[in-house]
């Protein structure tokens, strides 16, 4: 596609990268068909191709972002379904990441939105603050009905309260920085990103991961001083906090790589995985030593399902008579192109695995999207739950805490794939599955 950047503009590294992305797009429109927001809203402006064009015009103009553009970029889930569909290989992720940053730096949002986005960016990545906020939300829940929903802010507050679980699971010591030794002979050594929100919402996921890996002879390191990987703020366009978080993670992992060594950096929240695997690009302009470290970390990053396939997984218990509807998180299927590994593992574990119609469509979670765009997120959630339940499963499995939170609360147990794998390999039965179900 034709672009109109000046030589001066192209000296900026972000512009240069976006220019080459735009030049790859041939405007064929294939991406529109698999975009969740286009399917729901039926407007070119809410399709990847429309957004690409809006972003192109915004970046070329060099002027501050306008409300018209922001509205449509904000509605993008960053599910990256378009990247799976695109025959030309357009890196929409890098383009929209740039646009979000550009918007954050040049556009002044209305104050309630500013406040909310600022709070989300500050609270979510920090487990202590997040836990505190969730306790507050649980207390405020009975008053949710009093919030007027005539405004977007009201709807967002409601969404936030309804997403907050009524009761938080107890804190888990296993997630704290430490080394979990392998059972028996050590076959490998990995670092585990325990995540930020996940440690508060569902510590059982990390516990299951650690149990399963150590049982398979893998030593699991949880390095100190690694909190959020930066994905959350990165997706909100908050560049500096995102880079700071990523830098801390890179430093922590590099210490391990150069110390006792790592076979992989494991991630069991696929939203984070997509970002960590992109560190090489994010740090492309960093000083050479740091850029090299970022690249090395990105190359070692692997989703838990990828790694389990690599080292081999075998169940220890007899196959349960359970049908699992596998929900493919966008960050896994589109962001990391991991499609068959989780399903294959679940089948190996003895589950019957079914998939919903339109498995490529997002469930509406998408980081903070379900709070900031509650209406679209709600429609996507209903649609996803309906297509999942159509297959008459006993439970739903997914590889991302965002999706798990989004799809929970509808009467159907929603678990992380790794919890089921751990169970079948000798771990405890996940709490969410009642005794009577087996």
């Amino acid at each position: 596609m034709q672009t109109n950047f000046s030589v001066e503009q192209l000296r900026d590294s972000d512009n240069a990268a976006s220019n080459s992305v735009l030049r790859t797009c041939v405007h064929c429109g294939f991406c529109t068909a698999t975009c969740p927001t286009f399917v729901l809203l039926g407007d070119e402006l809410d399709s990847p191709r429309g957004r690409i064009y809006l972003i192109k015009e915004m970046l070329e103009s060099g002027k501050p972002a306008t409300e018209e553009v922001v509205r449509h970029v904000d509605r993008c889930l960053s599910c990256l379904s378009c990247m799976t569909t695109c025959p030309s290989g357009v890196n929409y992720m890098h383009l929209v990441d740039h646009a979000r940053r550009y918007i954050e730096e040049t556009y002044k949002r209305p104050w309630p939105e500013r406040l909310m986005r600022g709070a989300l960016g500050r609270v979510l990545p920090h487990p202590r603050l997040f836990r505190l906020a969730l306790r507050g939300a649980a207390l405020a829940r009975p008053a949710a009905g009093l919030i007027p929903t005539g405004t977007m802010t009201g709807k967002r507050l409601q969404a936030m309260l309804s997403l907050a679980p009524a009761k938080l699971p107890p804190q888990s010591a296993a997630q704290k920085p430490q080394i979990h030794r392998a059972e028996g002979a050590r076959r490998g050594r990995v670092a585990l990103l325990t995540g930020c929100a996940q440690t508060v919402l569902a510590p059982s996921i990390n516990e299951a991961t650690i149990r399963l890996l150590t049982r398979l002879g893998i030593e699991v390191v949880i390095p100190a001083a690694i909190g959020c990987c930066g994905a959350l703020t990165h997706h909100m366009g908050q560049h500096d906090p995102a880079m700071a978080a990523a830098r801390a993670a890179i430093t922590g992992w590099t210490r391990e790589i150069e110390g006792e060594g790592l076979d992989a950096i494991l991630i069991n929240t696929s939203g984070c995985g997509t970002t960590v695997k992109d560190y090489g690009f994010m740090f492309r302009d960093a000083p050479p030593a740091e850029a090299a470290q970022a690249k090395r970390v990105a190359a070692l990053a692997a989703d838990i399902s990828e790694y389990l396939v690599r080292i081999g997984y075998q169940p220890q218990r007899p196959a349960p008579d359970l049908t699992v509807a596998y929900h493919s998180a966008c960050s896994l299927q589109h962001g990391q192109k991991i499609t068959s590994a989780p399903k294959d593992l679940l089948k190996t574990a003895g589950f019957s695995v079914v998939e919903p119609r339109d498995p490529h469509l997002c469930c509406g979670s998408a980081g903070t999207y379900n709070i900031m765009q509650p209406e679209i997120a709600g429609q996507l959630r209903s649609r996803k739950l309906a297509t999942l339940k159509d297959r008459r499963p006993d439970l739903i499995a997914a590889g991302n805490i965002g999706c798990i939170t989004q799809l929970s609360g509808d009467g159907m147990p929603v678990l992380h794939t790794v919890e089921l794998l751990d169970w079948m390999a000798g771990g405890p039965r996940p709490d969410a599955i009642g005794q009577s179900d087996v």
């Binding site: 034709q2 030049r23 790859t24 429109g29 039926g42 407007d43 064009y53 018209e68 025959p87 290989g89």
Partner: protein
């Protein structure tokens, strides 16, 4: 650069009133009027030409569509119908004083009847969406343009779209039973029905391929078919375009009608392999994808005969797909071919002409010579079985000279198609792209007859004007 008619000053002057009128019918959410938001509607799949419209209207029902057309007709405003905006001939290119009517929100499947084998769908349902809705019951809608994932059935009717499998099943026109149309006066009419051969004149035939110039389509009744027991694709690789072209002629000449017979040359093979990882032979100069269907015995028999014919042309390799996954990858590459060329060139012009299959070797050689002459690379991807060519001329839109050479190159190819006894368009329509070449195909008298038909439906030429006919007389 393409010439567009002068915008009507009267229309531009009452822009605000027109937008207010549209908002009365469609509310704010169905009308786009801000300059920044109109920009992404300035082109379709033909990126060479761009023009933001006056406004965009997004109706959700046939009644809303009728009200919008009635209002715009009263105001004398030009109308540009648009489906998914995947046209490669600029069929949905806006005008500065025109309102684009986007059909994307009319995306519901209204009825599927397996006993009588038809489906009624709104115009904004995607081509693949029709098949997806019935696939699990063993039925499908046959025409399959490469953009079938995204393109919408309303646009397929407007352009009489084809596709790889049209060699056996025919193009859109052969698979339609009825239409609900809205005239420029806002009148809602049903034509055709739920069975073949409706009474009276063949209005369906007249409207199919009329490029949105006679009426707008709001619902389509399509013929659906039971899927074959199975299908298998064969990849046959050859040492030159001409040899592969001759082989196509041999197969078709023998009387065999494969379900699809597709051609790709070296640049296309490499770009598509990069995207689809289908195991295309990278050492080949030209590749044929030949698909047969039916029972296993039928497939074996046909593939055997086709294989023997390929062997007469000293192929580099012949490989039959061994699994459904392999076949899916083979077609993913072919269907994504145009976009995949985006991997090797920033821009392309996708041509669409038809020739008698006997002329394939000659035409392919001449295209090669033109490529040297214009110093532009070309990737040949096309429905070889029915002689429908899609040479993709690669250029760089950031370099004006390269674009002008591409335009001239394209015109030469299409003139060559007419010269060897073929025609200017296969399945993409005339649009704006081939508008000025229509003289090559038709005499002025013939064009006048066609214009008279348009005038009968649309006396003021408000529906998708500046397309199909050379501008001078429009």
């Amino acid at each position: 650069m393409i010439r567009l008619p002068e915008p009507k000053a009267a229309t531009l002057a009452k822009r605000d009133a027109i937008i207010a009128g549209l908002r009365r019918i469609l509310r704010d959410s169905g009308v786009i009027a801000e300059a920044a938001r109109l920009k992404p509607y300035e082109m379709d799949g033909l990126t060479a030409f761009r023009q933001p419209p006056l406004a965009v209207a997004l109706p959700e029902t046939t009644e809303q569509l009728a009200a919008v057309l009635r209002f715009l007709n009263q105001e004398g405003v030009r109308v540009i119908p648009r489906g998914a905006g995947t046209s490669l001939s600029g069929g949905a290119l806006p005008l500065a004083d025109g309102v684009v009517i986007g059909m994307m929100r009319m995306n519901r499947i209204l009825e599927i009847d397996y006993d009588d084998r038809f489906a009624v769908v709104q115009a904004g349902v995607t081509n693949l969406g029709i098949t997806a809705a019935m696939q699990s019951d063993g039925f499908f809608y046959a025409p399959d343009p490469s953009s079938q994932l995204a393109c919408m059935i309303g646009g397929n009717v407007a352009m009489n779209s084809g596709g790889a499998h049209c060699l056996k099943y025919g193009v859109t026109a052969n698979n339609l039973l009825g239409l609900k149309i809205v005239t420029i006066e806002g009148e809602i009419l049903d034509i055709g029905g739920m069975h073949l051969d409706a009474a009276g004149y063949d209005w369906l035939g007249l409207l199919t391929g009329s490029e949105g110039q006679l009426a707008m389509v709001s619902e389509v009744t399509v013929r659906i078919l039971r899927a074959a027991e199975g299908q298998r694709a064969m990849l046959a690789a050859f040492r030159s375009n001409e040899i592969a072209g001759a082989c196509v002629d041999r197969i078709i000449g023998s009387g065999i009608i494969p379900v699809a017979l597709e051609f790709m040359d070296r640049p296309a093979i490499h770009a598509c392999e990069d995207f689809a990882h289908a195991g295309y032979p990278l050492d080949a100069e030209a590749l044929l994808i030949i698909e047969v269907e039916g029972s296993v015995a039928e497939q074996d028999e046909l593939l055997g005969r086709i294989r023997a014919m390929c062997d007469e042309f000293d192929p580099i390799s012949c490989r039959v797909s061994q699994s459904a996954e392999e076949s899916a990858a083979i077609w993913k590459g072919r269907k994504g071919a145009f976009g995949a060329v985006g991997r090797i060139s920033p821009d392309y012009l996708c041509m669409d002409g038809t020739i008698p299959t006997g002329q394939l070797p000659l035409v392919l050689r001449r295209i090669g010579e033109m490529s040297d002459h214009y110093r532009l690379k070309v990737a040949n991807i096309f429905h070889a079985g029915d002689g429908n060519l899609h040479p993709l001329i690669m250029f760089d839109a950031n370099d004006a000279d390269s674009f002008h050479r591409a335009e001239a190159f394209g015109a030469d190819i299409l003139c060559l198609c007419v010269e060897v006894g073929g025609c200017l368009t296969g399945e993409h329509g005339v649009g704006v792209e081939k508008r000025d070449l229509m003289h090559r195909q038709f005499t002025e008298i013939e064009l006048d007859q066609q214009r008279a038909i348009k005038s009968a439906f649309d006396p003021d030429w408000l529906l998708n004007p500046a397309k199909v006919f050379p501008l001078v007389a429009a």
